[in-house]
């Protein structure tokens, strides 16, 4: 006979619902000594204790406690070690009792696991919020900088148009010759692995690197741009380059302003 039927009988036995031949068979099996089934019954008892807590709250009558303590006093003295385990049980739940002061009720060890899980989730959410907060702070700082720029009559907005390599792309640079500015792009496909987009400013004879960026899932990106050192910028251009950027453009041009 395989063990499989007992795996179904063990939980039924644990909840006290086994009867008839099944009960006879299972108890015989237990008497032979089956660690698997013993473990299954113990595990079921732990879960069932939780089921026991589903009962609506009710306060035990005080007279029961009095009667019990009278019986305990009247009974012959227990053996020295008899109730040692209770001290153990009380000691191991001391931490739970401390928690109970805060959370109310006696917190069983079972819930400590849950509390651990909840603590981990809370920590995770806190980290996530911190990251989002930092991103928002950056974004606000950039928006403020642009707002300041836009108040200055010397600031211009330069349109960038998608080139055949990325016909759907478009972009704008809010630009101030002395203060630098901000690039906004949309409609760019994500850069292939190992590649990134690079912005160039062309004032003199050679393009100068002005920053490397990649787009988000929506194909948009923004980039702070420092003022050019070689005079007023005539052209802004974006090329696809190896990630990390290069000192001089090598890849296909995807966006450029009109000359």
């Amino acid at each position: 006979m395989t063990h499989e039927p007992f795996e179904t009988l063990a939980p039924v036995y644990a909840v006290g619902a086994l009867d008839g031949d099944d009960l006879v068979r299972f108890e015989a099996h237990l008497r032979e000594g089956c660690p698997e089934c013993a473990e299954a019954i113990h595990a079921a008892a732990e879960a069932l204790a939780a089921l026991g807590r589903e009962a609506p709250p009710a306060i035990p009558p005080a007279h029961v406690r009095d009667a019990l303590l009278r019986r305990v006093d009247a009974s012959s003295r227990p053996r020295r070690t008899r109730f040692g385990w209770v001290r153990w049980a009380v000691a191991t739940t001391a931490a739970a009792a401390a928690a109970a002061v805060i959370t109310g009720g006696a917190v069983a060890s079972r819930y400590e696991k849950w509390i651990g899980v909840m603590a981990r989730e809370t920590a995770h959410l806190r980290d996530q919020m911190r990251r989002e907060q930092a991103l928002l702070r950056d974004e606000v700082a950039r928006a403020r900088a642009v707002a300041v720029l836009l108040r200055d009559p010397a600031t211009r907005v330069v349109e960038l148009n998608g080139l055949p390599a990325a016909p759907a792309a478009s972009g704008r640079v809010v630009w101030h010759e002395k203060a630098g500015g901000q690039l906004y792009v949309a409609g760019l496909p994500p850069a292939p692995a190992g590649k990134a987009y690079e912005l160039w400013t062309i004032a003199g004879a050679t393009p100068r690197p002005a920053g490397v960026f990649d787009v988000d899932a929506n194909g948009t990106a923004s980039l702070s741009v420092s003022p050019a050192s070689d005079g007023p910028v005539k052209v802004f251009a974006v090329t696809l380059e190896p990630a990390g950027g290069v000192p001089a453009p090598t890849g296909a041009m995807v966006l450029a302003s009109a000359k």
Partner: protein
């Protein structure tokens, strides 16, 4: 040393009596019967405390198992005596006296956790577990009552308990 045992017992009682009493009351439904069962259960723990093996489970599971077993014994004895016996499940909720004061509110937090776990079970799984655990019905009685094959009842109990364990261990 005996005095220490008495103190330990007192602490043990104060910790667990209020946890298991609601269960006993729900099962036996009569407050005076419930008080008797409560006293029997804790008197047994005093007498047989040495039989408890911490390595085989929590004290909580141990006391809940005993409380539930003794309560079901009482219900079955009443049934055998042919006294009025009403279907034990769910109506038992009405039998529980409301628990006044902040203590009840505190305990509700714990209870909510459990109700949350139970809500993760399917209706049929909750039903068989309730009939067995609170009602003291055996698998055959449950099968007759629900008009389901015996094998179905056994499977539902097994799956219900497995699910309950998963939910309690990992959260919903």
């Amino acid at each position: 040393m005996a005095e220490g045992d008495r103190d330990a017992f007192k602490q043990f009682y104060d910790r667990y009596a209020r946890q298991v009493y609601p269960l006993i009351l729900r099962i036996v439904r009569d407050a005076s019967d419930a008080a008797d069962v409560l006293q029997d259960v804790f008197w047994e723990t005093w007498q047989s405390a040495a039989s408890y093996d911490p390595g085989r489970g929590t004290a909580e599971a141990w006391i809940f198992t005993r409380a539930r077993t003794r309560a079901i014994d009482r219900v079955r004895a009443v049934r055998r005596r042919g006294e009025t016996f009403v279907a034990p499940v769910d109506e038992g909720l009405a039998a529980a006296a409301p628990d006044p004061g902040g203590d009840a509110a505190e305990r509700m937090g714990d209870r909510d956790l459990v109700l949350g776990a139970l809500s993760q079970l399917s209706d049929v799984q909750r039903e068989v577990l309730a009939l067995a655990y609170y009602g003291g019905l055996t698998q055959t009685e449950i099968a007759e009552r629900l008009k389901q094959p015996l094998g179905t009842v056994k499977t539902r109990i097994r799956l219900g308990l497995t699910r309950l364990r998963e939910v309690l261990e990992r959260g919903p």
